[in-house]
Symmetry: C2
Subunit: 502 residues, 2 copies
Amino acid sequence: MRNTVMMRSNDNVAIAIHDLKKGDHATAEVCVNEAIPQAHKVALVDIPKNGVVRRYGVVLGYAKAAIKAGDWINETSLILPKSPELHDMPYNTNIDTDLPTPPRTTFMGYDNEGSDYAGTRNILGIQTTVQCVVGILKVAVKKMKQDLLPKYPNVDDIVIISHAYGCGVAIDAPEAKIPIRAVRNIMKNPNFGGQLMVVGLGCEKLTPERVMDEADINDDNFILLQDHHGFQNILKALYAMAEKKLAVLNQRQRVALPLSKLSVGMQCGGSDAFSGVTANPAAGYASDLLVSGGATVMFSEVTEVRDGVEFIAQRIPDKPNCDKLAQEMSWYDHYLAEGGVDRSANPTPGNKAGGLSTIVEKSMGSIAKSGAAPVSQVVSAGEIPTKHGLIFNATPASDFVCGTMQLASGMAMEVFMTGRGTPYNLEAAPVIKVCSRTDLKEFWQDLIDINAGTIATGDKTVEEVGTELFNFIIDVASGAKPVAEQLGLYNDICIFNPAPIT
Amino acid sequence: MRNTVMMRSNDNVAIAIHDLKKGDHATAEVCVNEAIPQAHKVALVDIPKNGVVRRYGVVLGYAKAAIKAGDWINETSLILPKSPELHDMPYNTNIDTDLPTPPRTTFMGYDNEGSDYAGTRNILGIQTTVQCVVGILKVAVKKMKQDLLPKYPNVDDIVIISHAYGCGVAIDAPEAKIPIRAVRNIMKNPNFGGQLMVVGLGCEKLTPERVMDEADINDDNFILLQDHHGFQNILKALYAMAEKKLAVLNQRQRVALPLSKLSVGMQCGGSDAFSGVTANPAAGYASDLLVSGGATVMFSEVTEVRDGVEFIAQRIPDKPNCDKLAQEMSWYDHYLAEGGVDRSANPTPGNKAGGLSTIVEKSMGSIAKSGAAPVSQVVSAGEIPTKHGLIFNATPASDFVCGTMQLASGMAMEVFMTGRGTPYNLEAAPVIKVCSRTDLKEFWQDLIDINAGTIATGDKTVEEVGTELFNFIIDVASGAKPVAEQLGLYNDICIFNPAPIT
Ligand SMILES: [Ca+2]
Ligand SMILES: [Ca+2]
Ligand SMILES: [Ca+2]
Ligand SMILES: [Ca+2]
Ligand SMILES: [Ca+2]
């Protein structure tokens, strides 16, 4: 049985996958010189004083004193490198184009003519311009699912995008552009097949002009409840529009498509000390396979990557996207400071006990899910990327807000890494759950799809689990259902609105 | 047919209920001296230069020149009174204790032992500490409604309080107290009968200690999904807890209770030029009947009352509550200014065309729903009042956020005035819809409960519609279903969270 795991081939430390005692093998060649707790770092080679300590392929710090192969490395062993300021981050210094080759290069998706991305599901998505309409819409859609869906067997579902935005909001406030963009872009999600159905009330602040293209604002796509004479006529109008859209969607068939048509979101939540050791690195390997095959992969969660942001910058080839990264981080710094958020308590004593010596190392555990590929574009929360490949999508880390904003950015499915366990799933796009430990998989057999804990037990490598995950991503993109979709577990849409409620 | 309507008996202007031409009667004694547009003001008596112009019982301004009975009064006729600063508002200067006597003094409600307020419905409310649990909870509750509810026929419904708060939030930010208070207090709503059922995941920031009393945190009331072995065992645990609560709730019976056990929220949305002339004044009269009978009535919507706030202060008998009113207004001023909200465009040209000469007059149309009673207490958004009578509850005006925060403050039902029409309703408390115009009632016959438009057509007085509304409030409190409840239209819970998402 293996005792340690390495994150990246050029690292000079490995991670103890259980408590090690003096004399245990770290590798075939290296034995540990002292007791090392689970999830902590062990030196694999001799490191001279001031020598580099590298994990996740990045410099965590410099040795305070000479370190011998087999020594325990923790926060007391390191001189921390000075983090660059946001305006001064080096870019284009770590462009890794030697990505692994994906074992499969196509998936069976719903092509969207004229669009970069295909659907992984075939859904009638009903967008709302205000929460006011949701009560009637829920009654209507419940009946539609019984009466209409059986007539259109190629359509998977009818989904209401129910949100709290649209009225009672500061619609002209500077930051209102974020929720407005989300409402505008969610309806363009590839799983909705380009069929627009937008339902408004009639007196809300979020007028159709703010969220629809002018050419789309017509009776084929847009209903105002206040235009219809009573409940029964409202139902009739909703049915008539839905039926037209369902008939078009029903024509769609899954066809073999190149990976360049696939857009995948990556996220984590409920992380534990092994998330950055098993699940996220495996997801990173899967991400590299996807990107290498031409797919688009989004990673997000600003607050989780913030302290390691310079390592994202190094993977950006061009100045404009590096500047955009700095701008987004700066916007969030300001947003959190205005709200009185204290960032200084990082890493926590618990983080250090869990083997995370520095705030950079903690962030790297989250960034690990993005693999090693270059970052081709940085986009704002809810913005639709214009490039393929690996995208940094600057959303909050909140699972629901991140997922909602990734939907707006066009993800057709999501991969979610968890340490503690969550039943999280979305109605508009399937979510694969990857856990960091085998005991969680055993405890929640029917709520977790992929167990990355086998990396910690030494039964599988990061590459093996990453490849398993890649294959499951392709299967799910092609119609296989993750556990949460099989059980019909769906969370609410939670749009990011940093502007005031009025 | 009547041509004008007065808002309050000591006003010296009336409102034209349709376009009047020169010579038309404003009252039996007064004919109009010039054409006066619908919804605009006509002088009922001669007013000398600098004399007071009074509507809603308050001073709108002073006559720029002598005004004759029958003259049109608009923004060009008035010298505006200087509004006092927030720190300097006179209080206790307009205490009206001569309230109308309610025609009924009891309702048939669900008494809550040891609590000030009774339920108007008998509901198992399931509180969540984080959105993560909602997917499983929706599946569980759908099955519970089929399997369990029929066994407990005295229980009306099972309702999930699904919200976006709980994790991915700045839990220690100063303003986090607002959403945390909302989560804590919603579960105490009188419609839930004191039966606590709280569902968490296990790794969220919103721990049970933050939202439950220590004595309540035990296996009888609180479930963590991460403690249960897989989906089926989670379902079993949820079922077991729900069934115990349902058995207790099923013992509840409607009994005759004094109005002091009733808590009613007042709100408006989608207002038009007649909202402040018909629906809101009628609601104000109903409010006075309720308060006079000992009930608690909450009005809210800070942004709508802001410009007339000194007229609320005048109705507060004591300095501490006047100070609290000033604090709340000041907090919102700061909150909106930080978010870049521009308050300067008030009243709009459309407001003036609609007969609203000043920002004060516009606010008074909203404040009108609070009647004339003294304000016994001012509470923050989501805070539970400790006094009965008329309460100002400082929430945003957003219909869903206001309704959610009023639920947290303990309202057992809501009265909602609308000009343009909305199907708004809540799952946790019934909502009565009152419209401002007869044509809306005719157009949305099955979506509106009470038509206050008969005040504008001259068929009924404010007092008559107010009494009709009061009687319907008592009926609904006693179990009668408003139209939206009959149709099963339910909007989402939208907690007010001014703190950052992380
Ligand atoms: Ca992500
Ligand atoms: Ca995370
Ligand atoms: Ca997350
Ligand atoms: Ca209002
Ligand atoms: Ca409102």
